[in-house]
C-alpha cells in the first residue's frame, strides 16, 4: 500500500499493511527542515520544500499543514492585528470584535488575502509533487474557535451569559466564510480536514453550552466540507465520551475522531472511545506531545510509543497520531524514535 491507500483503508475501517502514521508533525518538521519556521508555516514553495524533506526522512502517511492558517492567516483576514515572528507561531496582537455591531463588518470581509493565496499555493505545489501517493491534511478550526480569536476567549465565554446573541450572530456570519476557505483548500488539494474544536472542548465549556451554541454551526461546516469532498476529522480534548460530546460529533458527516489531551490528566484512552463508537468511525491515537516526546529521552519516547501501539493493536480503523500541536523544540532524535517504533510495529488486524 502507498500512504494514500493506507490512510484510506484505515478511514474506511479496512485492513492495513502496517500502522498508518499520521502525527501532528507540522511544527517540528518546519523547524527541522524549513528555511525558516515562519516561511515553512506560511509560504508556498518554502512550505512545500519543508514538508517534502520531512516526508522523505520520516515516511509519514500524510502531509499536515495549517498551523499558520489557523493561527494567523484566518484571524488576520478577519481583521485581527497579527504578528508573524520568525521562530514561533503567529501571535494575535489585537482582537477585532468589540461589540455586536462589529459582526456585520466581519460578514463582508474578503478571506483571500495575499497571505491566504500564498498558503493555498503551497498546498497546490504539494499536491502536484505528491502525485496522489500521499494525502494532504490541513488543520482547520470551527466557527466558535475562530470567534474566540476575534473576540477574545474570556469575552466570548462571558458573552454566553451576558451577550448570547453576539455569540450566535458571530458564528452565523463565520459559517459561510469558514466553508468558503475550506472549499478553496479542497480545490487546491487538501484531502483531510483536521477540524480543531479547541475552545469548545469539555475541559473549557459545558456540554450544555456546546449543544446550545456550538453544535449547529459546527455541524453546518463539517457536513458541507464533507459534501465538497474532504474527509473531516474533528479534534477535541477532554472527556468527550463521558460528557456525551461524542454523541453530537457522531451525528455529523465525519470520517474520524482525533481525541486530544490538553493535559496529562485528561487523556482519553482510545479503547474507551472505541467501545463507544464501535466500527462506525476511525480513531486517531493521542500520544502526549508534551511528555517524553518533548522532555524525555529517545528510549522513553520509544517505550511510550510502544505502549500506545500495544494498547491499539489490531483495532480496526486506527491511525497513530499525537494528541495535539507538537512543539518545534521537540528534539529530532525523539521524533525519530517515535517514528521508528510506528514504522516497525508488527500490526495485526482484529
Amino acid at each position: 500500500m502507498n500512504a494514500a491507500e493506507r490512510m484510506k483503508a484505515a478511514i474506511n475501517l479496512e485492513p492495513v499493511d502496517r500502522v498508518p502514521n499520521g502525527p501532528f508533525y507540522e511544527a517540528p518538521i518546519c523547524q527541522y527542515y524549513g528555511s525558516s519556521f515562519r516561511a515553512a508555516l506560511l509560504e508556498d514553495q518554502a512550505m512545500a520544500d519543508a514538508h517534502l524533506a520531512g516526508l522523505d526522512e520520516f515516511k509519514f502517511d500524510w502531509v499536515m499543514v495549517g498551523m499558520g492558517l489557523i493561527g494567523g492567516i484566518i484571524p488576520e483576514a478577519l481583521d485581527c492585528r497579527v504578528s508573524y515572528p520568525e521562530d514561533v507561531f503567529p501571535i494575535i496582537e489585537e482582537t477585532t470584535v468589540k461589540s455586536i455591531e462589529d459582526v456585520a463588518r466581519i460578514a463582508k470581509l474578503d478571506m483571500f488575502t495575499k497571505r491566504m493565496e500564498r498558503f493555498l499555493k503551497g498546498v497546490s505545489i504539494l499536491k502536484k509533487e505528491l502525485k496522489g501517493e500521499v494525502p494532504i491534511a490541513c488543520e482547520y478550526i470551527s466557527p466558535f474557535t475562530i470567534a474566540t480569536r476575534l473576540r477574545g476567549t474570556n469575552e466570548i465565554m462571558m458573552d454566553m451569559y451576558e451577550n448570547p446573541e453576539l455569540v450566535r450572530d458571530l458564528q452565523e456570519v463565520l459559517v459561510p466564510l469558514n466553508i468558503e476557505v475550506g472549499k478553496a483548500l479542497i480545490e487546491e488539494g487538501v484531502d483531510y480536514i483536521f477540524y480543531g474544536a479547541d475552545m469548545e472542548c469539555p475541559i473549557l465549556l459545558s456540554p450544555e453550552h456546546y449543544k446550545n451554541f456550538v453544535d449547529e454551526p459546527t455541524t453546518k461546516v463539517c457536513n458541507e466540507l464533507t459534501r465538497l469532498g474532504a474527509k473531516v476529522l474533528p479534534h477535541m480534548c477532554g472527556s468527550i465520551v463521558e460528557t456525551g460530546i461524542v454523541d453530537m460529533l457522531m451525528k455529523m458527516d465525519i470520517h474520524g475522531i482525533m481525541p486530544g489531551n490538553l493535559t496529562q490528566e485528561t487523556v482519553l484512552d482510545i479503547r474507551e472511545l472505541k467501545e463507544k463508537v464501535g466500527d462506525k468511525i476511525c480513531i486517531f491515537d493521542n500520544i502526549n506531545p508534551n511528555g517524553p516526546l518533548l522532555i524525555g529521552t529517545p528510549e522513553e519516547v520509544a517505550a511510550e510509543t510502544r505502549a500506545h501501539l500495544e494498547n491499539a493493536k489490531g483495532m480496526s480503523g486506527y491511525i497513530f497520531s499525537t494528541a495535539g500541536t507538537s512543539s518545534p523544540n521537540i528534539p529530532k532524535e525523539n521524533y525519530l524514535a517515535m517514528n521508528r517504533e510506528v514504522l516497525n510495529f508488527q500490526w495485526i488486524d482484529e
Partner: protein, 208 residues
C-alpha cells in the same frame, strides 16, 4: 446565615444578589472580615473545586468571579489593615511569545479571592519584566503561565533570571501543556495543573 447566602450567590453567579447581600450585611454590622472570608473568599474556593471536579466550566468561573468582585467593591471602603491583612504578593503573567490568558486570568482571580495581592503583568512577558515586578512589589511568588508548547522553554529562562537576580521569591508554573516533571527540570518551586491547586500551592509558599 446570611454570609453563607453571599457565598451561595457567588457560586450561582448572581452578581446583583451578591451586592445586595453584602450591603445588607454591612448595614447589619456583620464583621467585615467575616463577610470577606466566609462570603467571598470561601465562595471562590467552592467555585474552584467545582471547576476541578467538572461541574462548572470556564464561563461559570468567570461569571462567579465577576460576582465576587462586585461584592468586594462594596467591601473595599470598609476594609482596614486590621480587617483584611494581605496574604502576600504574587506576580503573574503569561510568558513571552504566548498571548493566552484564560488560565492566568482564572488563577489571578482566585488568588485575589483568596486575599492575595496580585500584580497581573498580562501576556507576552519577558524575564526582565518579571524580575523587575518581583523586586518592585516585594513579591513572595512569581506565577508563570503558558499554553503553547513552544513557549514553555521561556519559562526556564525566566526561572533562571529570577534565581540570578538573587531575590527571595518562589516560582510556580502552570498551563495546559506544563507538567510537574517539566517544573522540576527547570528548577521551578512548584507546579499546578489547575487554578485551585495554584492558589493552594501559593498559600503554602507564601506562608513558608
Amino acid at each position: 446565615m446570611a454570609v453563607k447566602d453571599i457565598a451561595e450567590a457567588v457560586v450561582v453567579m448572581d452578581r446583583v444578589k451578591v451586592v445586595e447581600l453584602v450591603k445588607t450585611e454591612i448595614a447589619a454590622g456583620t464583621e467585615i472580615d467575616e463577610i470577606l472570608n466566609a462570603g467571598l473568599i470561601d465562595a471562590m474556593d467552592i467555585v474552584g473545586q467545582k471547576f476541578s471536579d467538572g461541574s462548572l466550566f470556564v464561563p461559570e468561573m468567570l461569571m462567579a468571579a465577576k460576582a465576587m468582585k462586585a461584592g468586594l467593591e462594596e467591601l473595599k471602603p470598609h476594609l482596614s489593615a486590621g480587617a483584611a491583612v494581605s496574604r502576600g504578593t504574587v506576580i503573574i503573567g503569561t510568558v513571552k511569545g504566548d498571548l493566552h490568558d484564560i488560565g492566568k486570568n482564572l488563577v489571578a482571580l482566585m488568588m485575589e479571592g483568596a486575599g492575595m495581592d496580585v500584580v497581573d503583568l498580562g501576556v507576552d512577558i519577558d524575564a526582565e519584566k518579571f524580575v523587575k515586578a518581583a523586586i518592585e512589589h516585594n513579591a513572595g511568588v512569581v506565577a508563570l503561565s503558558a499554553l503553547l508548547t513552544t513557549t514553555m522553554p521561556t519559562m526556564e529562562t525566566i526561572v533562571a533570571a529570577i534565581k540570578e537576580a538573587g531575590i527571595a521569591v518562589k516560582t510556580i508554573i502552570g498551563g495546559a501543556p506544563v507538567t510537574a516533571a517539566f517544573a522540576d527540570q527547570i528548577g521551578a518551586d512548584g507546579f499546578s495543573a489547575d487554578a485551585p491547586g495554584a492558589v493552594e500551592l501559593t498559600r503554602k509558599l507564601l506562608a513558608a
